[in-house]
Every structure is written in C-alpha cells, then in structure tokens.
Subunit: 427 residues, 2 copies
Amino acid sequence: MNPEDLIMISVDDHVVEPPNLFDAHIPEKYRDAAPKVVRKKDGSDVWTFGGSIIPNIGLNAVAGRPKEEYGIEPTAFDEIRPGTYDIHERIKDMNAGGILASMNFPSFPGFSGRLFAANEDKDLALAVLRAYNDWHIDEWAGAYPGRIIPMALPVLWDAEECAREVRRVAAKGCRSLTFTENPATLGYPSFHNDYWDPLWQAVSDEGVVVSIHLGSSGKLSVTAPDAPIDVMITLQPMNVCQAAADLLWSRVIKKFPNIRFALSEGGTGWIPYFLDRIDRTYDMHHLWTGQDFGDKLPSEVFREHFLTCFISDPVGVQLRHLIGIDNIAWECDYPHSDSSWPNAPEELAAVAADVPADELNKITYENAMRWYSFDPFVNGRTRQNATVGALRAEAGDHDVSIRSRDKGRFTKSVGIELGELAKNATA
Amino acid sequence: MNPEDLIMISVDDHVVEPPNLFDAHIPEKYRDAAPKVVRKKDGSDVWTFGGSIIPNIGLNAVAGRPKEEYGIEPTAFDEIRPGTYDIHERIKDMNAGGILASMNFPSFPGFSGRLFAANEDKDLALAVLRAYNDWHIDEWAGAYPGRIIPMALPVLWDAEECAREVRRVAAKGCRSLTFTENPATLGYPSFHNDYWDPLWQAVSDEGVVVSIHLGSSGKLSVTAPDAPIDVMITLQPMNVCQAAADLLWSRVIKKFPNIRFALSEGGTGWIPYFLDRIDRTYDMHHLWTGQDFGDKLPSEVFREHFLTCFISDPVGVQLRHLIGIDNIAWECDYPHSDSSWPNAPEELAAVAADVPADELNKITYENAMRWYSFDPFVNGRTRQNATVGALRAEAGDHDVSIRSRDKGRFTKSVGIELGELAKNATA
C-alpha cells in the first residue's frame, strides 16, 4: 500500500512540558510552590518541585537528531525540537509525520505522576496535579480538537481522591488515565489489594482506559550495575508483560468486568507467546491455585480487557490474529529514541505490506478511536483529508530537518536513512 | 505425523537426587559433613548441608499426579515417582514416555549449585561438588550409555576452579555445564566482568555448552508479595530473556567466538520478537552506546551462540525459521508440573503437525545431539529402535498410572485428558 493513504493515530507519544504549564491553571495560593523550570550553570533546563530536580533527559527528546548524538545528557529547551513542548509546533510535526491524532504521556512528573505523589504537602500535590490535568486537557489537547487524545495523571497517593479526579476529567471528555505498571514497587498497595477499588469503579463507570506505560513501575530491567545500557533498552518492553500478568490473574479483572487497560509502548510480538503461556498455566495449575475464569480461557479474558500497541513490529503484525485484530493499536513514540518520526508511515507500510486494508485500518486508527472513545473527525476533518498524504500537504514546507548539537547547524540525515524502506513500501 | 515415529531427546528434565548420592563418590574425610537426607516429623524428606535445610518441593516432582493435587508442599521420597530419583526406574519412565535421551538439571543443590557455594568451607564444598558431578556423570548417566546427556554443576565461587572442573568433567565426556542466569544477583561478578574469563575459555576449549535454566538467578518474577502464584508461573520463562540480553550485549560473546549457551526451559515463542528488538536496538542506538558486531546483526550473533528449547509452543513452532531451525530443541521437563509426560510425543505431534520431517528431526533430536556433542546411537541403538513407538514397546507394561496422595491409590487420569490431543495428532 501507499503509506500516504494511511490514516494514523498514535496511542503513545510524549509531551515535554513547557515552562509556562502551570501559569493559567494553578490556584494563586500554590503558585510559588508549583513546579518551575530553572536553567542550571551547565546550560541545561531542569524542573524543580519540593526539593526535587528533574532534568530533561536527552534520549526522551531526540526526535530529529542524528543517532550519533543520542545520549542521556540533560538538555535545554533550545536544544530540542519545539514540537516537543509547543502545541502549535507539535501539530506541524504531526502533520509532517502524517499523524492525525496522538496521545501524549507526561515527562517530568513521571508516567504515573510520582513526582507529585512524593510531595509531603498533599493539598499542594493535588492542586498541582489538577492544574497539570487541566493544562493537558484544556490547553494542550484543547488547542486543536480532534488531534490530541486527552490523558490525565492519577492521584497515586489516594485511591478515593484518584476516583474523584477520574470523574472530574471524564466530565471534560478525558478517557485515558496514565497509571503505573506496578503500584507495589512504588510503595503503594499492589493490584491485588482492594485499596484501589474506588479507582477501578470510577474508570469502569466513566469508560476511562487505564494506560500503563513501560517504565512506570519505577523499576527498569537492570541485570547488573555494570551491564551495557543496550541490555536495559532491549528489555524495556518486556517489563510491561509483568503488569499484564499481574493484572490478568488479579481480582481486578474479575470484579470489574468493564475495566480496560492499555499496555503502552509494550510491543506486540510477545503477546501470542504470552497468551499461550497463560492458557497453559491455567490448564496446568488452576485446579490447585484456585483461578477461575468460568467458561473462558485467560487469553479470551485478556482480549476483553487489554489494548496492545507497537511502533514497528513485524512479528506482531504477522501474528495479529493470534493477538486479536481488535486489540492492536499503533504508536509513534515521538519524540523518543525508538520513534521513526517523520518516516513512521513508510516504516509501518513496509512492515504491514501484506495486511488487508480493513485490518490495517483497525490497527492504524479505528481501534484507538474505539478504545479511547475518541473522535478525530471533527471541525471538518474527514477520512479524505485525514490521510498521511493530506496531512503532509497541510504541513507544507515545515522543517523536519535535524538540529545537530555539536555542529550547531541543521542537517538532513533523517529521511535519507529510511529512504530505501520508504521506496520498498510504496513500490 | 504419527507421534510413535518421532525420535525425541529432551534437553531439560530434572533429577531428584537419591539419598545415597554421595556414598560412592565423597572422599572419606568429608563423608560426615556431606549433604544428607533426613526425615522430618511431618513425614517429609529434606536434604541438610552446613545448616541449610532443603525440602523436596512437591511441584518439582508431580509427574503422574492428578492436577488437583499439584502443590508446593514438601514431600517424601515414597510420595513421588521412583523414576524421579532411581535411574533404572527413570529409564523405564523415559521408555514409557518415548524419550530416547534426557539432560537432567539438579534439584536440591539449586540449578547452579548455590547450596554448595554457600558453604564457608570451600574445600568441603569443592569435594561435595566433585562428588556430585562424579555421581551424575559416572553413576546416573553412566548406568545407561546414550540415554542421559551428562551435565556438571559449576564451582560458582571460583572461576579458576570452575574452569578446572569443566576440563576435568569434559575429559569424562561431559559437554554441558549448568550455570546461573545472572551471577550478579547471586552476589558474584556479573557477566560483564572479566572475572569469569577462565571459565569461558575452558568451556570454549572443551566444547561445553553453558546451560542456563530459568529460575537460576535466585530471583523469581514476583510482582508483589500478595500476587497470586499464577503470576510467577506465567512469568518464569520470560526471566531467561534477561539472561539472553545480558549475554548477547556482553563482552563474553565478542571475546569468546566459540562459546555457546542454552536457554533451558525458556520457551521459544518470544524469540522472534526478541531478535527484532535487539536488531532494532542495535540500529537505533549502537552509534552512541558503542556496541559493535562488525558486519553481523545481533540476531545473527544470537543464532551462533544460543540454543533455545520448548515443551509445547505453537507460536515458536510456527515461527521456527525466524528463530533459526538449527537453534531449537525440545524438552519434556519431567517430572515438573509443566511436563506432559508420558504423553509429550502426542502433544508435540499435535503442535508440529505441519512441520516437515527434516525440520522436526532437528527439533526433536538432531540439534540436541549436535549442540551437546551427544550420541545416543550406541550399544545397538539405531534410529529404527529409537522411536517413541520402539521405546514404548521396550517399556512393556511399565506402570505410568497416577499415585494420588489424598486417596492413597492409583488412578489413571493422565492419558485420558490428552486422549483427544493424541487422537488428533495421529489422524
């Protein structure tokens, strides 16, 4: 297929929060204590909150950089693409990348708002969290209706308060809550504790998807202190499978039949093996472990409750029917280092060359719309002017070139590198 | 295909060590201090060594039990199948299960001999470890040449001594060393430390495969203290992928081009995704992480160094060419709870119904022979009398029925349950 004909919604991208995030949303009494951006002597910009200092990690905002310059050094706002923190620039970058809509996980608060939860002043923390959610929903997502799937941060330290916040943001149209892979490793009651029931009730009532991003347990897969970083990078997506197993066998799934989870940035190629494994585990062990899914297999239960997604996953695409064609979404991961922006449509088209159009539509946008109750076709947007080609035409001559840190100039290396791939995909 | 026509070598089974293990092998001066079996007041048998007490975990010896009675309670020798600890009975069980040859991981010492390593008297520990290896190679494997792939325990606490032990057992024909998934979690230098180089040199010189069994890191995947045990059971095979990543990106692979590892009980269905992941990680990141595999992809390097195996893995079988048809072996896992003994041939035949005979031969026995330099065709054994059918004919009326703990009588539930599967496989 021609990648320009695809309609693409990404269920996992990232926002680098702008310095003025809280200005219009924080109550006056908390303004001084709210998180702030400070420029350090080394030239990097950091967020500060309650004594914590959070750098902008370079690898989290490498979109458009030559790979030779990937790294984990702190960076300043003027070293990263404006599209990472400026919604108007972001929409231009999305257009240039052919992306119709996008869901954006947080950066400096942590995927589950751990930074806010760590503050001892819980009134302040709640005010900051609500201000963040209001900014994200009203300002970031609200600026361009139909382009950003709104997502809220959870009140990690109080399940009842979290339920209230879910109901509050749902009333504003937000149907996604970012949460942690494992509350237990963060020091909170585990998924197996009824502590969280008010939250599960709220998301069930409001049709909110609990979006669990890899790395949100606060525990990365580090095999040894002296292991190369490649080991950690390789193992990252596989962490999410721990969350999937934890939730699947938990009482949550059984007690809240409408609850839905998304395994964000988890990849899909491992899912068929995982489903075989849970069905075999059930068959071999449930008579003594006491698990009971009635007349269903665990793999069927999984498909009722879990959305998976991938960036570029040939194995997952090949095995899509073993995963569940209604359970797979696509993600771009802009502006992180796993992303192929702005050539992601070409990458996907190459990987999915043999997939029938109706199945590919589910993967590229229909499943995302249904799971997140999100409608991108507003304000005159139709399927005809929502394609990669149409959006790129809107982008016009928007610059997707590379800013090289060392050389202090723009280069054009991304695009060349995926040229062969793109050619094969459109052939 | 007819499962009776298969030739099957299992690269992962387990021995429950018999009480008289050390009798013929421990030097006289260490006889009193050597590990011993003691019967406890609750009727269970335990091994004792240097103040440690190691129960026979029930789930590790459930072969032939109804699933309702699986459990993790300690058991006594007279409650488990004699084939778990008596080599003559084991061979009869192998014949009844159609298994030509088998590699047996240890039980009470731990997969990497941790129990011996924990003893402060290192002279005693070494004497005990050597006695164990001599028993395993000369007595357990030696009793029936061509039926047991000999395997040695490592000297976990001393890499130089471990290298000497590898050379000593290799001279006796042993080409498999059981090792840990992660020495760092056990308190030893990691795979990234040159401490282990003498060992890697020895296994490279002697053509010994380092067999890494899941669970051998001393760290299971426990998501939370109150998580159901099903979570841990589900996640067990995925732990091995941490070891695969750790070793693949390590200096070991680069410095020792002939070194070979086996990922024992690790399953295969996740490997294609893993290989995509390492190739993508390499492509996206090697320019800044400094990884260098010359003109090879990480997936190619993986296939040069790693043997994988599965019990019953429809996804792995389907994707066998993405894994590497020369990198897959089969395992029975007798007498653990994941095993389908004595009906494993029928289970495999059902899963591999579409696999051409030459490929299936590689998976069921040829790859195991080549990787472990093992020849089962000795003492008049030919391919004709090595099949499942021929071995079952040798087994005659050997009893594979079930001993039920609660009812104190024999039942026949295994066999019935897989009856449908067997019928489909032979159809």
